[in-house]
């Protein structure tokens, strides 16, 4: 391929490529800094991007998502920019809200990169031909899908239930013990039991001999003596009072 004279010979197919544009020297800019999204599955996150016009004349702009990477088997997050167009007056700034909605079906940890484009829109219309250059600012964004944080409510409910259960068990056992103690204090020793003890004292000697337990025998003897002595004392006391 050649250019120049060869092209001029082919008159019917010539291009007349020129342009007449009004030149504006507005200074269009953006506040520096990264915009990193960490979006929970099924939810949205909004971060801001600020554009500035440091020139004297107003600048019309249009904001679009210029680029978003693709990840195999993953649904791309939905990105919206608000406002998507407008005018920034001279020496003022405009804040654009970039909202990312993460589909709930995506895998946690998946990441995307994108470019949010804010391009200047000129009022002038190309009268001739050629390439019309539009200035703009771009913001690189990164998006990471994150796992949703589990709700604390079920754990709180479980904890409350456990506390209630523990309290109920403690209260039940405490009442039972108290009831047992009360019943032991109130119940009188039956007469039959006393008689049995006395008899055991009398017959204890023989039983102890049989068992061959010396200590037991001694204690039995002592207790029988006590019983007999106490009964004789009672008898003598009764005689004295009768006199």
């Amino acid at each position: 391929m050649k250019h120049g004279s060869a092209g001029l010979r082919l008159a019917p197919f010539l291009f007349l490529a020129f342009s007449i544009f009004s030149l504006s020297y507005a200074q269009f800019g953006e506040v520096a800094g990264p915009v990193n999204f960490n979006v929970t599955l099924g939810s949205s996150q909004t971060l801001n991007m600020t554009i500035v016009n440091t020139g004297n004349s107003a600048v019309k702009f249009v904001a679009t998502l210029g680029y978003l990477s693709t990840v195999i088997n993953e649904t791309a997050p939905n990105i919206t920019i608000s406002p998507s167009n407008g005018t920034v007056a001279g020496h003022t700034q405009e804040t654009l809200a970039i909202t990312v909605h993460m589909p709930s079906t995506d895998t946690p940890g998946t990441s995307w990169i994108g470019i949010v484009s804010v391009a200047e829109v000129s009022n002038s219309t190309p009268i001739g031909g050629g390439a019309y250059l539009q200035a703009g600012v771009a913001k690189n964004i990164s998006i990471v899908a994150s796992k949703p944080v589990g709700s604390i409510v079920p754990y709180v409910i479980l904890a409350v239930l456990l506390i209630i259960l523990a309290a109920a068990i403690w209260y039940y056992t405490r009442n039972r013990k108290q009831a047992l103690l009360r019943s032991e204090k109130k119940a009188p020793i039956p007469a039959a039991a006393v008689e049995r003890r006395v008899k055991r004292g009398a017959t204890g000697k023989a039983a102890a001999n049989k068992r061959g337990a010396r200590g037991r025998r001694r204690s039995t003897r002592r207790s029988s003596r006590k019983i007999s002595s106490s009964s004789s004392a009672k008898r003598s006391r009764a005689k004295r009072t009768a006199r």
Partner: protein
Amino acid sequence: MKIGSSIRLLIMQIGLTAFTLLILVYSQVGSVFATSSTSNVLANVVVSSVCEISLAPNAITFGNVAPGTFHPTNVLVTDSNNGNANANSIDIEGTNWILTSSVNFGVSNTTYNMVSSSSAITGVQLSNTLTPVTGSVVPAGGSNTIYFGVNVPVAQAAGTYTQNIILENSC
């Protein structure tokens, strides 16, 4: 009785001394609190940096180009950044060359390069997706240059074609 009265006197003396000391301490502390003092609070604020863009020229003309020929990638565009933050890259995208709605040719026929070239083929083909230009940092208060060219397809209908090219500084 005599011993008792002397003890009482001693206690009174101790009490009087303690009271005097208390008054003394209180007056000292009071004077500390009553003294007026001045101190400076250092306030600071960090205003975020800004990167800007200004293109010159904002239109480029390739002139007459015959079908099946090219204009070399040597048409200069200067991207200036008058902000105080470096523009980490220049992002670029474009549209198709349009004569009428039905007569046009593709955006990829436009080529760009960071250096001037005598050929359009050596340049990078423009696309309609925003793409970072490799090695295109625009320093704060500085500028960078991009050169453009065009290939005209064979047997393309004659006419005056127009295209939009968007150049964006990113920081």
